[in-house]
């Protein structure tokens, strides 16, 4: 709306001061940011910049150690591991991001409505949440995938389902804190309908901690996707995917051919690390209690 220039300038100055202090305090945030940009770049451009076809096997070059030609070595059927690791970035990021977005949207809206309206909506939501939370989540994911089959959509939905409770619970708690806040009463006095109050006054104010949660959750979703693939309940070979690649390389660890499992595992670890660090940085930014 109408924001006189001096007000905007004031806000900008504060934000800059804030950001500068944060970076000075935690240079890791900057590293994480750079890493995230690199991963996004690989996800977007990966398939055009890799030196080899990630699916092309070569019977003459099986399980070769890292060399000048194959920087990360080759796997048991002679595919270039570097190319496969790079190309897998898009799939791994896309599955996790879709799942996180899905559970974020569903969980935050369901939780917010439950917390705001109460009644049967709240009872149903908390029943669903409690039921999902009664399972060890990864085990539940296994059960669902086995039952519904390993298609890409099913994997995404399954990961979204097991992450749903954390958003729903958090959103409900955040809404509960604010439901009786002065500005909500004031909005009522100003003639806002309950739906409008929830959508404009309550929900947006609950988002910051949820976004932090989403960033943290992204790493966990990637681990879950790769974990499912690793035990054979995720993406199917020969698609390049980090979890499958580690799984396929696992057998060779005992015989010393470490590279086949090592590089995809490392890529996965770095990606998860990136999102965890970003989550930490975001939380520092959002949570005033951690102000020192």
């Amino acid at each position: 709306m109408s924001a006189p220039a001096s007000g905007a300038g004031f806000a900008l100055r504060q934000a800059l001061r804030h950001g500068r202090h944060l970076l000075a305090e935690n240079p890791l945030s900057l590293v994480a940011f750079v890493m995230m940009v690199s991963f996004l770049g690989l996800a977007l451009l990966g398939q055009w910049i890799v030196p080899f076809d990630p699916l092309a096997s070569d019977a003459t070059a099986q399980l070769q150690a890292p060399s000048r030609v194959h920087w990360f070595g080759t796997d048991q059927v002679g595919r270039d591991i570097l190319s496969r690791v790079v190309v897998a970035t898009r799939l791994d990021l896309a599955i996790s991001a879709s799942a996180v977005v899905l559970s974020f949207a569903a969980g935050s809206v369901a939780g917010a409505c439950a917390g705001f309206y109460g009644g049967w909506l709240e009872r149903i939501t908390s029943r669903v949440v409690d039921t999902i939370m009664a399972f060890p989540l990864f085990v539940l994911a296994m059960g669902i995938i086995v039952a519904v089959g390993t298609t890409l959509t099913n994997i995404i939905i399954t990961i979204a389902v097991i992450n749903f409770p954390s958003y729903a619970r958090m959103a409900r708690a955040e809404v509960n804190v604010r439901r009786e806040a002065g500005y909500v009463e004031a909005a009522r006095l100003a003639g806002n309908s309950p739906g409008r109050i929830l959508a404009l006054h309550v929900y947006p104010n609950c988002l910051p901690p949820l976004i932090v949660q989403a960033s943290m959750n992204m790493g966990w979703a990637m681990l879950s996707v790769a974990g499912l693939s690793f035990i054979g309940l995720g993406v199917r070979p020969p698609t390049p995917e980090w979890g499958i690649m580690v799984s396929e390389g696992a057998a060779f660890m005992i015989s010393g051919e470490w590279w086949a499992a090592f590089f995809p595992g490392l890529a996965l670890m770095l990606a998860v690390l990136t999102f965890n660090l970003l989550g930490d940085a975001l939380r520092d930014l959002v949570d005033p209690r951690r102000r020192t």
Binding site: R127, D130, T131, M133, A134, F135, P136, L137, F138, V139, L140, A141, M142, G143, I144, V146, A147, V148, G149, G219, L223, A226, G227, F230, I231, G232, L233, G243, V246, S247, G249, A250, M253, I254, S255, G256, W258, A261, F262, G265, L266, L268, M269, L270, V272, L273, N276, L277, D280
Partner: protein, 337 residues
């Protein structure tokens, strides 16, 4: 106190019901016609129909659910196609292996994680704090199958310190007589040092893998809780009262900080139950996780369902235990309910 436990028990009930309903629904959601699936590819339509009736699939959904609950109460989880054994018998035989591993991992994680978190919180900003924080972040980012494989590579292949990752005992050691099912406990009961050592050796790497995985969240929560408590008004009161640093740290700060840690233990345990499957696969551990995975490979659903159900029940039971423990520590819960 008893009333509190009663309340907790009642509160755990909906969770149990939810678990049963979900496992039932998962069973019905199997792709394709379950009767045709169970009858095998060569079955005639009549044979399929017979199996449909035998499995109760011709009945309505609520009726099927009733039958399912009846079977559950009788301890009947169906029969495994792969082993030909009742699923319950298979699970019972393999559960101790899984529990022994998970509990060892959890204990290791608590034993290292809690002190690490306290250490980091009491020296904020020091190099020790920074190292602890890096460890925690790394630990949170490490895929378990990756750390497991690295441990195997380094300690088995490169250094040769650990035995081959092939189960609970090497080929030359006979298992101890079964009392509890835990090889460590049973061998001690039998006063058999050799078996104990052999079992312990096999346990080291998988336990370390689980411990490393659970260490990060435990240390992280301990550190955060401790930091919060150390900055609290009541710790300031204790300091202003001139109390000895030990009293302030242990009586005033740590006891309060343990409350969120105890709560978090449930989540960490659930996480370990999931991780367990991966670890059992890598170390060829004959637990219920690897049992379920074998069943997955052969599309044998009854064991998978039994596995999911068992894991969920263990988790519900543990949460109940944690709730009670929490009530013992925190008077606010104990007195108000």
């Amino acid at each position: 106190m008893l009333r509190m436990i009663g309340r907790r028990l009642a509160a755990a009930l909906p969770g149990v019901i939810g678990v049963i309903v979900v496992t039932f629904l998962l069973n019905r959601a199997l792709p394709g016609d379950p009767a045709a699936y169970f009858a095998g590819p060569a079955a005639t339509p009549r044979a399929i129909e017979e199996i449909r009736v035998k499995l109760g699939l011709d009945k309505s959904l609520p009726e099927q659910f009733g039958l399912y609950v009846r079977d559950l109460v009788r301890g009947d989880l169906g029969t495994s196609l792969t082993t030909g054994q009742p699923v319950v018998a298979d699970l019972r035989a393999r559960l101790p292996a899984s529990l022994e591993l998970t509990l060892c991992g959890l204990l290791l994680a608590i034993a290292v994680g809690v002190p690490l978190g306290i250490f980091a919180a009491t020296r904020p900003g020091s190099w020790a704090d920074h190292i602890a924080r890096v460890l925690m972040t790394m630990g949170n980012s490490m895929p378990v199958f990756f750390s497991a494989l690295l441990l195997v590579y380094v300690f088995y292949y490169l250094l040769g310190w650990a035995p081959a990752p092939l189960g609970r005992l090497d080929a030359f050691t006979p298992p101890p007589g079964s009392v509890t099912g835990s090889f460590l406990v049973d061998s001690l009961l039998m006063r058999d040092g050799t078996v104990f050592l052999a079992a312990a050796k096999q346990l080291v790497l998988p336990t370390a893998t689980l411990g490393l995985a659970a260490l990060a969240p435990i240390a992280r929560i301990t550190r955060a809780a401790m930091l919060g408590v150390l900055a609290s008004d009541y710790v300031r009161t204790a300091r202003a009262g001139g109390l000895a640093p030990r009293t302030v740290l242990y009586v005033y700060a740590l006891r309060n900080a343990l409350l969120p840690v105890v709560t978090a233990l449930g989540i960490v345990f659930a996480f370990l139950l999931g991780v367990n499957v991966v670890v059992e696969k890598i170390y060829a551990w004959p637990g219920i996780g690897s049992y379920a995975l074998e069943a997955v490979m052969t599309s044998d659903y009854a064991p998978v369902q039994g596995f999911v159900l068992t894991m969920a029940m263990i988790y519900v039971a543990l949460n109940l235990l944690i709730d009670i423990l929490y009530g013992v520590i925190d008077p606010r819960v104990r007195i108000e309910t």
